[in-house]
Symmetry: C2
Subunit: 270 residues, 2 copies
Amino acid sequence: MDDRRKGKLTLVGLGLHDEKDISVRGLEEIRLADVVFAEQYTSALREGALAEIERACGKSVQLLDREELEEGARVVEAAEERRVALLVAGDPMTATTHVDLRLRAAGRSIDTAVIHAPSVLTAVPGLLGLQHYKLGRVTTLPFKREGFAPTSPYEAIRDNMNRGLHSVVLLDIDAAAGRFMTANEGLELLLDMADRAGDDDGMTTRSLACVVARAGSPDCILSAGSIGEVMAMDFGPPLHTIVIPGKLHFMEEEALRTFAGLRARARSHL
Amino acid sequence: MDDRRKGKLTLVGLGLHDEKDISVRGLEEIRLADVVFAEQYTSALREGALAEIERACGKSVQLLDREELEEGARVVEAAEERRVALLVAGDPMTATTHVDLRLRAAGRSIDTAVIHAPSVLTAVPGLLGLQHYKLGRVTTLPFKREGFAPTSPYEAIRDNMNRGLHSVVLLDIDAAAGRFMTANEGLELLLDMADRAGDDDGMTTRSLACVVARAGSPDCILSAGSIGEVMAMDFGPPLHTIVIPGKLHFMEEEALRTFAGLRARARSHL
């Protein structure tokens, strides 16, 4: 074997929920890889999914800790002379850390590639029947931490709402602690932000909200109703995603009634 | 066999480019289906991809014409008592017609499901290294037709630009005519719209634009530069997508330089 092979780094998307969301191209790349890493900080599949992928591909997957992911040296060095696949839930490159890693590899003249996969950003509105050309800026709700209580996610939603656009609200993941924000926690955080923002006509428990739990899984749950109604429900295991709809087209409202159990007349403003 | 079986309609996403972008779950569903339809009006894979899927699954795929897709009866009737898969490029449910079809089936008490796949809406910004939380409203450029010359796509881009957000611009497909709008045609249409909108500081050939050709394919091309530079290039076969970047974070600009050949200092406003 030549002692100076050309390496490659491919970010392989795993999709939404389990080992069956990866594309045929993604599976092929894992089978061809010399080294397979995975990270579970930017998103995560259901428990056991990586083990299934290991079985399906006959490869062992090395899990990166947060520092190894962010600092990147372990992955980049491996890719200097070997074919490396980094497995990422969802569609890769949605997190800055993936762009950073790809840039570090390119900076060392390592070939890089991306293999795409389903993303919650299109799956969730699609499941709800909400039109993609009416999606505003996506926002993420971080866990509350001592001295860290931003209202910017609420302001992004309000900004979308003011132009009649829907807001997809991603929920924080604390992978190290195996902690995933529930839709109920997220809605409570949003109501708290609305209080602190102090709008006259801000978000209340009567505002319309949608929740999608386990998008892409066979036991996916869709729910639409007032925040009060939705917060009272138990959506089960992660991942959960919130959508705050803007102005609803009649077909969108019919979809929410048919697929997400919307009952009352939708109050599709904050 | 019982003469009154319960049917099902599953919209199966095919992803971005060819037969390898479908998920493992999607392939399984096609193999289980009694009837497999496909439509190529809302988007399309490269030529020959459907034939490859037929081969891989040992199923023949029936192509729907536009009327059958929009009017829906052929698909819904087939799903009354049989397991039907409707193959759709990209992630399903991004087009109103899919939501409409799913509602018609549900209205006949037919079970429906969606199997997700990679979408250009996340793949294209991801390939360019643009941050998803900075994506504004997506817009589509329709082919110019007699007495039909909207400026709304340009206005959507300007609206995103005013908030520093990136604009993904999808390009029209005339499947019946086998015609796909090129990025060059699209940029020309945008410049024409900018003229007619008559802004003081509107889009010109000096404005920054990105093009992604054949996202998800092995011969994908990424290009970033002034509209003048980009319009002079030949991006080859479809599909092409345009992105008009808003305010660039330094890492986004570095990604455009590294992966999309951005040379001059980016003028990331119209």
